[in-house]
Structure formats: structure tokens, C-alpha cells
Amino acid sequence: MSVGRVVSYGVPAVIGLALLIGLPQLLDLFVLLQVTLYVVMAILALSLAFVWGYGGILCLGQSAFFGLGAYAYAITAFNIGESSLPVVIAILLPTLFAAALGYLMFYGRISEVYVGVITLTVTLILFNAVNSTASPEYRIGSALIGGYNGLPNVPSLNFPFDPDNTLQPDDVYMVAMATLLIVYFGIRWILRTRFGRVLVAIRENERRVEFIGFDARLHKLAAFALGAGIAGAAGCLFVNWGSYVSPTIFSMIQSAQIIIWVMVGGVGTLIGPILGAVALSWLTAEVGTQHVINADILFGGILIVFVLLVPRGLVPMLTEHVWSRVMQPRRKVAVAAKLAAPGGRA
């Protein structure tokens, strides 16, 4: 394994493990809860970073899968009274839903723009459908769906198959952080496989990929479903963070925020969307504590600034410009040494 690869895997792994183990020791409960939320949002951002940044599928409704994961967990947890199976269902339901939706879109040869429109529309349909289930007759088993009132007091995660042993907030943080690390390194691993390479090539040009013998539709479908599963896992963690879920999880604002995180951090990177989600979630929380400026206006402003000035996002800009400036003097030194060597050209 090359030094570069050791560094590129080792540095995030060390930082991730340090945050996983260290933060619960260092932070008080309130701050740790806030950090847990940022970590959950980072997982959600990674789901879109994979689907959009590498698969080239502009999903404007990633929050649909986030919400489905949250509701699937909440409803099954109420009914079962134990969290092991609900966690699996929270991942499986959005995956299967995305597989069905993706089949209709990709095998129907729907163009990229309309994929965006359809995913957004599905999110809004889910928002309206769940929003209108406030009457007591809307229940699944023992779980009242609750409509616009939402679903409060959702049972917390417990240790597998041990419902009496529920996780404490610092445990939930560690589960979220571990999930983030698994998702991050899992996506990196996928991108190194043949499937991942084909996916990146599809982003470049779908037709070309088919000419060299790959079923682009199947690859896109698999990526879309996988991204939905990751978003579902984030939804499951989100509902555990607040023990509450409401239809706003399907809202347009939620969908737009995910896109903004990825755009600000950098489409086509993984670290960028994580940083974008954490930084902007923190900013939202900070702005929410004062009444000087509306958070949505701030987000809109940030989006406009990035689209105009940093269209590729923060991480690509930093890696291209700052890194090249750091490396440039070294190159100059190397070239100078070469020229100074015997036989070197002046």
C-alpha cells in the first residue's frame, strides 16, 4: 500500500476514532446531543454525496428516504417494543422504495432533469400524505401516525435484542459516529470496486458506458437504492436523537438543505459534504438562538455565494488552490536542484 493511500485512509480513520471515543469524555450532555445531530446530518449528506456526486443522479428528494427511515423505525419500534428489527426495517424500507421508484425512472429512460422533478414530487407527496394523518383512525398497529402533530416519545435504541437496556445519549452519539465512519469508508471502498468505477463513468457519460458493455440503468438503480438505505439509517438515528418525528422531515426545506450541504462542501467528494453538513447545521443552530436573521435567508445567501464564487465547493477549491500553493515551492526546489545538478540545463 502506498504512503499516499495510508495517509488518505489513516488520517480520517484516526480523526474519526478520536472523535468517537474522545468527545463523550470532553463534552457536556447538551453539546454532545448537538454534535450527535450534526453527525446524523453528515450521514444524510453522505447519502446524497454518493448518489449525486459519484452516480450523477441529481436526487432533489433525498429527504423522502430520510423521512421513510425515521417513520419506519418509529412505527415498528412502537409496535415491537424493541429496536433491533426496527433498525433493519428503517434501512430496508427506503432501500426498497428507492429500488421501485428508481426502476420506473431509470428503466423508463427518464432524463436527468425529470429524475430531479420526480424525486422532489415524491417527497412532497409523502409530506402531504403523512401530514394529513392526524385523526386517530390513522394508525399502524399500536402506533398513531399523528399527522402534522408528529410522533412523540419514540422508543429509544436498545442493545440488540435487549429491550430493557436502552442506549444513553452518549451511546447514541457513539452509534451515530460509528455509522458515519462505516458509511464513509464503505463508500470509499465501493468507489474502488469495479461497480464504483462504472458508476463514476456513468456520471461522465451513460451512453459510453453502455457501449463498453455495462448496464448503466442497473448500476444507477443500485446506487440510488444504496443511497436511500444510507439516508434511511440517518433517519433512524435522527428519530433516536430527538425521540420525535414529524412530517417536516419530508419538507422541501429539508431536501434543499441536503443539496446545499453537498454543494457547499463539494460535489464529487466525501469529506466536503460531511464538513458542509456539520458546519451548516451548526450555523442553523446558532442562527436559531438569535432573532436577527432568518436561517432560510442565510442559507439562500450562502448558496448564491457558493454558486457564483465557489461553484465546485469548498473541498475541491482547497485541494486545488491551497494544496497546489503548498506543493509549488517544493516543485520549484526540485526543479532548481535538477538544473543545478551536473548536466542539468540552465
Partner: protein, 235 residues
């Protein structure tokens, strides 16, 4: 018989482009297709690879009817296609482009396939770490050809491979294709405007006009240098 095209029709929307194209290609043969712009040369190749659906007619490849197969299945079956305009993956490196072209078949591994192609394309071997989009037009054309050959096709479809390419690379392409044809028995169908290129490579030439094959020139006619005269009258 590797390819049997029978009464093939294709259209862009309501506009018919191919109007009953029929021809056959034997194993190991090299066939050129000539015609004016807009006569259906590129459309014919697109229909053969499945990029454009045939509205009628039949395409049999190695004895199997592939007329309704999607392009990726035809590519997996052994039809390699180098489209007009190169169509490499510009953000991927040369090496990654080559790896993308590999199609698992038999015991031929990806590494073997890529190494074989590197040996055949020494000009690309020095550019493996370069992004495809940074190559010159000629190098991109070589890369597009090399990537398709990584898939070890039985039939190679080439659409105007010399368009806008410097002469030294055109010579490289002729040499490589001639070697693949002579020593590996690769079957080639090439659409080309350059008479020099097509006569250097083809054993026979099909002339296409208004979406149908109107004339065929044999190897003997080609070697007699009659191609230019024939084309002077027909094309």
C-alpha cells in the same frame, strides 16, 4: 458468418434514415462503408450497436438475433464500438479508461487485457496517469480504440477514426488495426471518409446512398485502384 444484416430500417423519430440495409460480413473480414454525409453511415453503426433501435429488419451476430438487445448486451456479446468523436471518459485517467473497457470473458483477466493493449499502444503507455480529457485529439482517438479493444471484441465497429487526426497517428491506427486483423483475426467494419485509410484497411467496400447499400467493391477492385474512380462516379 459473424454478422448478417437483413432489410434493416431505422429512423430518428419520423425521419427514416436506413431503408432496408442488407449485407453480410464473414469472420476475420475487414469491410469499409463509404457514402456522402447524411446517407446513413453513422446511423448504420449506431443501429448495429443498439444505440438506435431498428424499426424493422434483423441483425444476427454470430448466429444469434441481437436486433432487440440493448447496447450493453451487444457489447458483452463481442461487438466493440468506437463512436465518432472518440467519447472517452475525460475525467478518468488513461489507465482507468483502459480498465473500464475490460469485459470479463473466459480466463482473460483485466490485468492481461490492459497489459496487452499497453504493448500494442506504446504511445499511450507513457500517458497512463494523464486524465483522458487532457490528451490531444489523436491520442484520445487511440485511447477510444484501445479501450474498446480491452473488451476483446470479435467485431469492431469504427466510426470515422481518422477525423481530425494527425497523419502519424492515422498511420499508427492503420498499423494496429492491420495487425489485429491479420494476426488476431479481428473482424472490422469501418465507416470512413478517407479513401486512403479505407483502401489501406478494407477487403471490400460497401457504398451507401439514401439509407441503402447501392454498390459493393471487392478486394480485387480495391487492389486495382478502382476505388477512387468508382467513388468519383458514385459518391
Amino acid at each position: 458468418m459473424i454478422l448478417d444484416v437483413d432489410d434493416l430500417h431505422a429512423a430518428y423519430g419520423r425521419i427514416p434514415i436506413l431503408n432496408g440495409v442488407s449485407f453480410r460480413v464473414s469472420d476475420g473480414e475487414t469491410v469499409g462503408i463509404l457514402g456522402h454525409n447524411g446517407m446513413g453511415k453513422t446511423t448504420l453503426l449506431k443501429t448495429l450497436i443498439g444505440h438506435l433501435s431498428a424499426t424493422a429488419g434483423r441483425i444476427r451476430f454470430s448466429g444469434t438475433d441481437v436486433s432487440r438487445w440493448p447496447s450493453y448486451r451487444r457489447a458483452r456479446a463481442g461487438i466493440g464500438y468506437v463512436p465518432q468523436g472518440r467519447m472517452i471518459f475525460p475525467a478518468l485517467t488513461v489507465y482507468e479508461n483502459l480498465r473500464m473497457g475490460f469485459i470479463a470473458r473466459g480466463d482473460w483477466s483485466e490485468e492481461n487485457a490492459v497489459n496487452d493493449i499497453r504493448a500494442r499502444f506504446p504511445r499511450l503507455d507513457t500517458l497512463l496517469d494523464r486524465a483522458g480529457g487532457t490528451l490531444s485529439g489523436g491520442e484520445q482517438q487511440l485511447l477510444a480504440l484501445a479501450r474498446t479493444l480491452c473488451g476483446h471484441p470479435k467485431l469492431l465497429l469504427l466510426d470515422e477514426p481518422t477525423e481530425g487526426i494527425q497523419p502519424s497517428i492515422v498511420d499508427d491506427i492503420i498499423e494496429i488495426l492491420d495487425g489485429l486483423h491479420r494476426f488476431d483475426g479481428l473482424t472490422i467494419i469501418v465507416v470512413e471518409q478517407s479513401l486512403d485509410f479505407i483502401s489501406a484497411l478494407s477487403q471490400r467496400v460497401l457504398l451507401i446512398q439514401k439509407g441503402t447499400i447501392t454498390r459493393e467493391l471487392s478486394a480485387e477492385q480495391l487492389s486495382a485502384g478502382a476505388l477512387a474512380d468508382e467513388l468519383g462516379e458514385t459518391v
